[in-house]
């Protein structure tokens, strides 16, 4: 029992040390209010620690961590007022909305980051999951493993994300 508890604790330490910053970024993408975001991040850490009791190594540690974190965050979105969830949009809609509202190029980094966060926070949880995984530099196979989407769907979504980001941040068109 003590050995199990220690393995659970060790996995948690490894996860917090290696992916702590990524988890903070993820929490920021799911909650804009600073206090609620801190609560969400702590909830993710608690869920991670609890989950390691059942970690069987059938997927990589990174996949496991992102699944737990995204699922806690999605649950957080759902537990907010139901109307808020209905107001979220899919990637396709966001692409059109973002194009319509496209403004001047973001001059400084914090401005650009805020704009990126605005886009992310309007997405439905599953699309947000894909976008965040893409921004964290994951490949399509890993995004599929975390999200549960078929490879073809992941590829389509990544294509959309790349196009939208390219247009929004003026990187010179389609990069895919």
């Amino acid at each position: 029992m003590a050995a199990e508890a220690s393995a659970q604790d060790e996995l948690y330490h490894e996860a917090a040390e290696t992916y702590g910053a990524a988890l903070e970024r993820l929490a920021r993408a799911y909650e804009s209010d600073a206090d609620l975001r801190r609560d969400l991040l702590q909830e993710i850490h608690v869920a991670l620690w609890r989950s390691f009791d059942g970690f069987d190594g059938r997927c990589s540690l990174r996949t496991w961590i992102y699944r737990v974190a995204h699922n806690v965050a999605a649950s957080h979105v759902l537990s907010q007022r139901r109307t808020r969830v209905q107001m979220l949009v899919g990637l396709e809609e966001l692409e059109n909305m973002a194009d319509a509202q496209s403004g001047p190029v973001a001059a400084d980094r914090s401005h650009a980051l805020n704009r990126l966060l605005e886009l992310i926070q309007r997405l439905k949880p599953l699309d947000r999951n894909v976008m965040l995984a893409y921004l964290e530099g994951m490949d399509a196979a890993e995004i599929g493993e975390i999200s549960g989407l078929l490879p073809g769907n992941v590829a389509t979504k990544i294509h959309r994300i790349k196009n939208m980001l390219a247009r929004q941040f003026r990187q010179g068109g389609n990069e895919s």
Binding site: Y12, R25, A47, R50, R82, L113, I146, S147
Partner: protein, 190 residues
């Protein structure tokens, strides 16, 4: 971590973070706090149910008319049923420890289905259990006070209650349809 592919990924990955640190002891304490929150909520709802049932029990004991007593008894049974269902379907609950084994799509769909079922079936678990008591109370009142003037008042009140029931049911059906739309979208994405 893969190599940073483009400036937006770089912008995202290099944003400043606070660097939250939580010791395992702190994690355990927080996990326990959440469990206690659920226990407290359950206690609060049980206490509310006991108070309302107690009030109906008081009416039941104080009234000598058999029909009124049956009506209050039915209300008590209905209240207990609703309270039990509220605890089972409550929004505050512990997330399963197997979260990491569930893909986001599967987890999200299960959560949406849980919410949809709770609102779609609002009639059997939330509204219907109160109907027998209410009907019996109306019958008891009509028999105890056989003047037509009183019946008009009762009928007006009954109409008001029916409107509330229908309103609650319709609102929940609309919410269930919205949730079903989201579930269909997820099914199409799989």
């Amino acid at each position: 971590m893969n190599e940073v592919e483009n400036p937006v990924q770089k912008l995202w990955q290099q944003q400043p973070v606070e660097g939250l640190q939580m010791s395992v002891e702190e994690i355990r304490r927080r996990a326990g706090k959440f469990e206690r929150r659920i226990v407290r909520r359950n206690r609060r709802e049980t206490l509310g149910c006991i108070l309302v049932s107690g009030l109906f029990a008081y009416f039941m004991i104080g009234n000598h008319d058999l029909l009124f007593r049956i009506a209050y008894g039915l209300f008590i049974a209905g209240m207990i049923w609703v309270a039990v269902q509220l605890q089972r379907k409550g929004s505050i609950r512990n997330l399963p420890p197997t979260l990491g084994a569930s893909t986001s799509l599967h987890f999200f769909r299960t959560e949406l289905e849980r919410q949809r079922d709770a609102v779609r079936n609002v009639w059997p678990w939330y509204l219907a259990p109160l109907v027998p008591g209410y009907l019996m109370l109306t019958i008891a009142y009509a028999i105890a006070f056989p003047q037509p003037v009183r019946w008009i008042g009762v009928a007006a009140f009954d109409g008001f209650v029916v409107l509330i029931f229908v309103g609650v049911w319709k609102m929940n059906q609309r919410a269930a349809r919205c949730l079903q739309k989201s579930i269909d979208e997820l099914n199409a994405a799989e």
